[in-house]
Amino acid sequence: MTATSSLELLAPLSGVLIELDQVPDPVFSSRMIGDGLCIDPTSTVLCAPLAGVVSNVQASGHAISITDDQGVQVLMHIGLDTVQLQGKGFTALVREGERVTAGQALIEFDADYIALHARSLLTLVLVVSGEAFTRLAPASGLIESGAPLISIEHNGASAGPVLEEEGEALFSSPVTLPNANGLHARPAAVLAQAAKGFAASIVVHRRQDSANAKSLVAIMALQTVRGDVLQVSAVGEDAQAAIDALAALLAEGCGEAVEPTAVIDIPVVVEASSPTLLRGVCASPGSAFGRVVQVAEQQLEVPEFGSDEPQERASLERALDEATQALQRLRDNAEGSAQAQIFRAHQELLEDPSLLEQAQVLLAQGKSAAFAWRQVTEDTCALFERLGSSLLAERALDLKDVGQRVLRLILGVEERVTEMPDDAILIAEQLTPSQTAALDTRRVLGFVTVGGGATSHVAILARAFGLPALCGLPAEVLKVPAGTQVLLDADLGRLHLMPEEADVQRLLVKRQEQRQRHQREKEQASEAARTRDGHHFEVTANVASLQEVEQSLTLGGEGVGLLRSEFLYLERQSAPSVEEQAETYSAIARALGPQRNLVVRTLDVGGDKPLAYVPMDTEANPFLGMRGIRLCLQRPELLRQQLRGILACAGLTQLHIMLPMITQLSELRQARQFLEDEALVLGLKALPKLGIMIEVPAAALMADLFAPEVDFFSIGTNDLTQYTLAMDRDHPQLASQADSLHPAVLRLIATTVKAAHAHGKPVSVCGALASEALAVPVLLGLGVDELSVSVPLIPAIKAAVREVELTECQVLAQRILGLENAGQVREALLDHQHTTALQPRVLEN
């Protein structure tokens, strides 16, 4: 190479220069990542040392790399061990893929916060592409941000293209990543360094993503997190040695101290799809046989430049107005509260001032209204998606949807109506709420999507409609011709493209029977739930809105056994006022009337059920962290305000207040004190009943001490199960074992009931177990007094109560307590169900 040019890197920060050798972190001082410099900063904005493209910004905002057009790559890492701050104290000002100029601000950081919470602020500037450089700045002393730092000689040789090795790739077995913060700079460097020791070309895979294992930045750009399942593949002479060594290194944590994770013997259990059978993840249970309808996103033509600014501005404002009105109509006509809530969220997105402000800027540049609007919604979607939380990523879909709605209005394009047969199975890349709202759901039998997960709208809506849904199918499902008859078996995660006649028949018969049973149960819903031997059990509803309360009454609900008060706090920017709370509780109390019970559970949020505006430190394990009553007692004004709101409806109904996540007696006593204080202020003579959720094993085991101090217990089986079995119910491998019918859980229920009855206090079950018809005999047999169930299942559970005889249930329950596992319990219950189904129905005669 004759033409060598030199490149000057600017100091990204002001501060004190420190030799790399001195940095007390061997990954950096050993130059494993690359050679460079260290600055102890006195400024708080990290600026680009060279012009180029942002090749990687870590989600946690503490590290960024820039690559210039010649391939020079510079990594900047702010502080030591700052990955543990998980983004706190850092604000990225640029995004991946963005082109930046030298000196442009990249990351702003809170120096005092980092100094107090991390090991050090020492910031590394490293040339990771390996070029030699000469130092322009002195070895020590102060440097100003933007001053010349080092000079790099381009020689072209080091940045030569990687030769693609020919041949068959060998794959390692899957490795579950044990590193608490994924492969961030330090472990990524160790891995890349090890990979460079092999001649083979090596790739790290995570699902469909992959990265060159010899490139530190490529590995970091994968943005892996703990628990990701990785595979290493290699091509070349020493491929086998490479994959063995690197897979072992990954499993050990790449030089980081890690907790051991279980070795996966079986490769991840997503069965391979075949041409006639596609696999996905169940988002809503059930099965259906019907004809394919492909729902595709409408492509809109958007002119970049507009006529004149005032006109474009008016056009955007008009479209926003019309969209808000259309959403209001959709809200008013929504078939369920789930759908209404989604459209309310859409309205709020439209009211967001930042979207409008950004659009105004583009309009001022002469862009058309449609172009400006599309640009800002797409940018904000990308921002949501990049923030890395699956919850926000799914909100990006909302924004896309509402963005498309406004865009159509600006352009005057009609929404396309999809022609549908009576037995439609909808297939889409991703169904937006607007698309689903425009559908005639009476004709839809099921949903199939490529994207989405358990919290996506399709999943929420499908569950609300009681329709089966399957998510995460391979993209080839979009090529299935419209009109094809398919069998959707969401329970097993399967879509049969050429179903066997026998399978279809079996399904149709099953559906017919189910429909008849539902019909019968609904007709009898208003009758009391009395066992064959004449014992009456109250079946109440789990609700989260006034609408659901009303619905529960039409379905035979005898009160509310669990009002999830979180609904008052969701999808809003601020806490509800006491007045607003009082109004909502009173409306629900009036709907129920003075005879029925209303059990209000106080706010139950925490790290696992985040509220957008309740700031919480990230917890390593939110299920064992500040949840439920713990959070409320830490922030007492929140609880006091809620109690004030709830007490406003004291005279209107049989009011009960229930505290979630109680573990200690002191928590109960403190909350009771708050309740008494607030009642005194309001001048109430009679206190409402106060009870606790039994969902922590400690509370169940100490129920004999809690019982004298409460008015009732209610068992939350979902949490009780996961805390008792130490299994996350969403864990991909453990979910099927996290069964509430495990004898250990049932024994805790038995303990609780015994203690409560010894003090004359009633026990209800409000967890998912109560909504499972199969579990009814064992719950009644254990002495549970009331079942609080999800609204649509009230008729089925009442029917299940009517089918059994209490004395038989008691015998059965005692036998079940001695069984070994949940599987045996289910078997015993199925046997019991068969025998009772054969007996004549006393009540019908």
Binding site: D40, G79, R119, Q573, P615
Partner: protein, 96 residues
């Protein structure tokens, strides 16, 4: 960005719900400051607290950070000075 905004909003509405940034200093033994540094920071009366943080830094809380004499600090061997909001100042002392 969103989080910060939401946090500020929430705090404004319900002041007692959001714990103030815990200023839990990593408990290092209070070392006495050299007199020339104390003088350069505006004297004993201007100094509210000090602690060693982040390997290289002395974090001092001052009543009035306008009284910091940067050249005197430099003369006293302080490599860098970072004046932050709320009277907090970091003195960069280098790696030991």
């Amino acid at each position: 960005m969103f989080e910060k905004f939401q946090q500020a909003f929430w705090k404004a509405l319900t002041p007692d719900l959001v714990a103030d940034q815990a200023s839990t200093p990593v408990a290092t033994a209070e070392e006495t400051l050299r007199p020339e540094i104390v003088a350069a920071l505006g004297g004993e009366g201007n100094l509210k607290s000090h602690q060693r943080v982040a390997l290289t830094r002395l974090r001092v809380a001052l009543n009035d950070s306008a009284r910091v004499d940067q050249s005197a600090l430099r003369a006293a061997g302080v490599a860098g000075v970072m004046i932050l909001a709320g009277g907090v100042t970091h003195l960069l002392l280098g790696l030991d």
